[in-house]
């Protein structure tokens, strides 16, 4: 088991395995997202209160869940990198940040486009919206901090600390609709009975599609990180066919 683990963490093996894994994430992701879009836009019935406007749900909620899930993965990887000094874990954190930031942006933008017709405003300084905006700033701060430090090992450590401090924001986002009197509606996705199955399955398809999509993009970015961190190794020469 440990031997296998170390082999996987060795750059040439990881680079090769990541390359083989990408299509297994990418193609199912595409199928699940297309099925989810069709289900959400065509098959699902309109909401009895919000009509067809509720369909923004199918891109908004999966994006919002991913924005938090990716941050959780990023912070966990950063912690593993700090504790066990594992370069690959730091690489996972670094490779996750841009995707997570974009999911957060999508959650905010689609939420705004949903809020305008339903609440009558694009933006409200409400607990849920504000904490999600802070999440975007945490991602951007993480990316900016990394790019401002030249030495990769120092950049890894400093950005990992920032990622860990930001974890405190995750429960705040999640419970913001419970703790504060929020304009934002409560959770429907994980509240049994809140949504009929015809309405729910396209959202689940989108969510699983987004997860696999994140996996595919993560592995492409990880390959780039592995190459960036590798110094003059024979395998790299061979891989680049020099």
């Amino acid at each position: 088991m440990w031997k296998w683990f170390h082999m996987l963490a060795s750059p040439p093996h990881f680079y090769r395995i990541a390359g083989l894994t990408i299509p297994w994430f990418g193609w199912p992701a595409l199928v699940l997202i297309l099925v989810g879009l069709y289900g959400g836009l065509v098959l699902a019935p309109a909401d009895y209160q919000q009509g067809d406007g509720f369909r923004i749900f199918y891109v908004h909620v999966p994006s919002a869940i991913m924005s938090m899930m990716v941050y959780g993965i990023m912070a966990t990887a950063a912690a593993i990198g700090l504790i066990w000094r594992m370069k690959l874990a730091h690489a996972v954190a670094a490779a996750s940040a841009p995707v997570g930031a974009w999911f957060t942006f999508c959650a905010l933008a689609t939420g705004s486009l949903w809020g305008k017709p339903m609440w009558g405003t694009w933006w409200e300084w409400d607990a849920r919206l504000t904490s999600e905006l802070i999440l975007l700033f945490l991602y951007l701060g993480y990316i900016a901090l990394r790019s401002s430090i030249e030495d990769p090992q120092r950049a890894d450590r400093a950005s990992a600390v920032l990622a860990l401090v930001g974890v405190i924001n995750l429960p705040i986002i999640h419970y913001s609709v419970v703790w504060w009197n929020s304009l934002h509606q409560g959770s429907t996705m994980f509240n049994p009975g809140a949504m009929s199955i015809e309405m729910k399955w396209p959202a689940l398809s989108m969510l699983f599609g987004f997860m696999l999509y994140y996996g595919a993009v993560l592995f492409v970015r990880l390959r780039a990180e592995v190459i960036r961190r590798e110094r003059n190794a024979a395998w790299l020469r061979q891989e680049l066919a020099l």
């Binding site: 990418g26 997202i33 879009l37 836009l41 065509v42 309109a46 009509g51 067809d52 406007g53 369909r55 923004i56 891109v59 908004h60 994006s63 841009p98 995707v99 974009w102 942006f105 999508c106 933008a109 689609t110 486009l113 949903w114 305008k116 017709p117 999509y213 595919a216 993009v217 492409v220 970015r221 390959r223 780039a224 990180e225 190459i227 960036r228 590798e230 003059n232 790299l236 020469r237 680049l240 020099l242």
Partner: protein, 56 residues
């Protein structure tokens, strides 16, 4: 349901289609930018290795 009805989205077209369009655009962009980052890293590594070769 006609195609026009579908695009009309019960009057929510102006909010709904930008939301979906934006997410699809971001998904495509992320794939493109990750692939570009990989190509960039490979080019930089190749340059570095070739420079080391000429030096030695």
């Amino acid at each position: 349901m006609s195609l026009a009805d579908f695009f009309y989205m019960g009057g929510y077209a102006a909010y709904l289609w930008p939301a979906f369009g934006l997410v699809v655009l971001v998904l495509v962009y992320n794939v493109w930018s990750a692939r570009r980052a990989l190509a960039e890293a490979r080019r930089a590594a190749a340059r570095r290795l070739q420079m080391e070769e000429t030096r030695s």
